[in-house]
């Protein structure tokens, strides 16, 4: 998917510029945009490093664990098809908790583990179960309390208030997650009637 999109962006850009006779811009671009890429990485780097350091403390001190325990009762309602003590629930909680704290790289292993546990109960192994889909919707909502990368780039671009978008991001995420879960719930109810 990303493969096709990446190639299309480049092919469209070159063909369109050739047709319009402004290939010179693309020529300069090919030579200079690698530098822009490296600059972007350098701009993000300090805050990413600082934040993963801080978050490692949250992980080691057990804060991440207690946080996911708080989420557990809510999750049980979202996954009525799973028994109360299902192993996947713990992984799902940790995945969501890690995502919320902006620990994307810590979230992925929990997510993969949760999927494996859900697969054990799945009668048709090549078809997604209801619980899997609910988890996916919950996960792609991507609830992040502090969008570190965005804040870092705003800061570097000279923003007067780099953190002012935290509230708007959280609100937009909540709308996204709630609508996804609602639609998922409606579809499930219809199918089980």
């Amino acid at each position: 998917m990303v493969n096709i999109i990446w190639a299309s962006l480049i092919v469209i850009a070159i063909v369109y510029s050739l047709l319009n006779g402004n290939i010179e811009i693309i020529n300069n671009g090919i030579l200079s945009h690698a530098t822009s890429g490296v600059n972007l990485v350098i701009e993000m780097m300090p805050l990413i490093i600082l934040w993963t350091g801080i978050m490692k403390i949250a992980e080691s001190s057990g804060l991440l664990n207690s946080f996911s325990r708080v989420l557990n009762p809510i999750l049980r309602r979202l996954f009525p098809s799973l028994p109360k003590e299902h192993k996947a629930l713990g992984y799902i909680a940790s995945n969501i908790a890690a995502n919320m704290l902006g620990l994307g790289s810590a979230a992925t292993p929990f997510g993969l583990k949760a999927m494996q546990e859900l697969q054990k109960d799945n009668p048709k192994k090549d078809t997604a179960s209801e619980a899997m889909i609910t988890f996916l919707v919950l996960n792609t909502g991507g609830v992040t309390l502090i969008p570190t990368t965005v804040i870092a780039l705003r800061m570097m671009a000279g923003s007067k208030a780099p953190t002012e978008i935290i509230i708007t991001s959280i609100l937009a995420t909540m709308v996204s997650s709630i609508s996804g879960l609602t639609l998922d719930y409606i579809i499930r109810r219809r199918k089980n009637k």
Partner: protein, 173 residues
């Protein structure tokens, strides 16, 4: 609201450090360990970022969008929005790095504190890359039939994008 945005990070950091001390964690060493992981992470994403910044930027340079989406221009001008926000909204569920590159371009051209700068920031922060997560998670357990997962995921993204527009307008419009 503004105060809340300003104190959330300091409070967060304070709480994490205090909690770590209470649980007798060596916070300094743990920080270094995590920071090292962060450095490796930056190292790993560098090729992806360069690839995406390159593709997205020459695409925007070609002015293909102005040609293809010219009919949208009157509507967008009415709402004071540059065209750049459209590819960002379209690419959001597919590639987080591509939209990151577009967002940074918007910061450079219009400033992070402009309306579109704030909108782009909210868009970037509000959802994850649905298609990527779907491919990764279902791929890992060899599930091929994903049923209604993709439409529901994309629906959630769409609602998030609409919400980002509205929330940014209400707070900063």
């Amino acid at each position: 609201m503004n105060i809340l945005s300003k104190i959330i990070i300091p409070l967060f950091v304070f709480f994490i450090i205090m909690y770590g001390l209470k649980k007798k964690v060596n916070v300094y060493d743990t920080f270094l360990e995590g920071a090292k992981e962060g450095l490796m992470m930056v190292f790993h994403i560098t090729p992806t970022v360069i690839a995406m910044v390159f593709a997205v930027n020459i695409f925007l340079d070609s002015h293909f969008l102005e040609g293809a989406l010219g009919f949208l221009k009157p509507i967008l001008e009415l709402s004071r929005l540059p065209l750049d926000i459209i590819p960002m909204a379209i690419l959001r569920p597919i590639s987080g790095t591509a939209t990151l590159a577009i967002m940074n371009g918007i910061f450079i051209n219009f400033g992070p504190d402009s309306f579109i700068g704030r909108l782009a920031s909210t868009l970037q922060g509000c959802t994850d890359t649905t298609i990527y997560v779907l491919a990764l998670y279902f791929g890992s357990i060899k599930v091929i039939k994903t049923r209604y997962a993709l439409p529901v995921g994309l629906f959630a993204d769409l609602m998030g994008i609409i919400a980002a527009f509205m929330v940014t307008f209400i707070f900063f419009g």
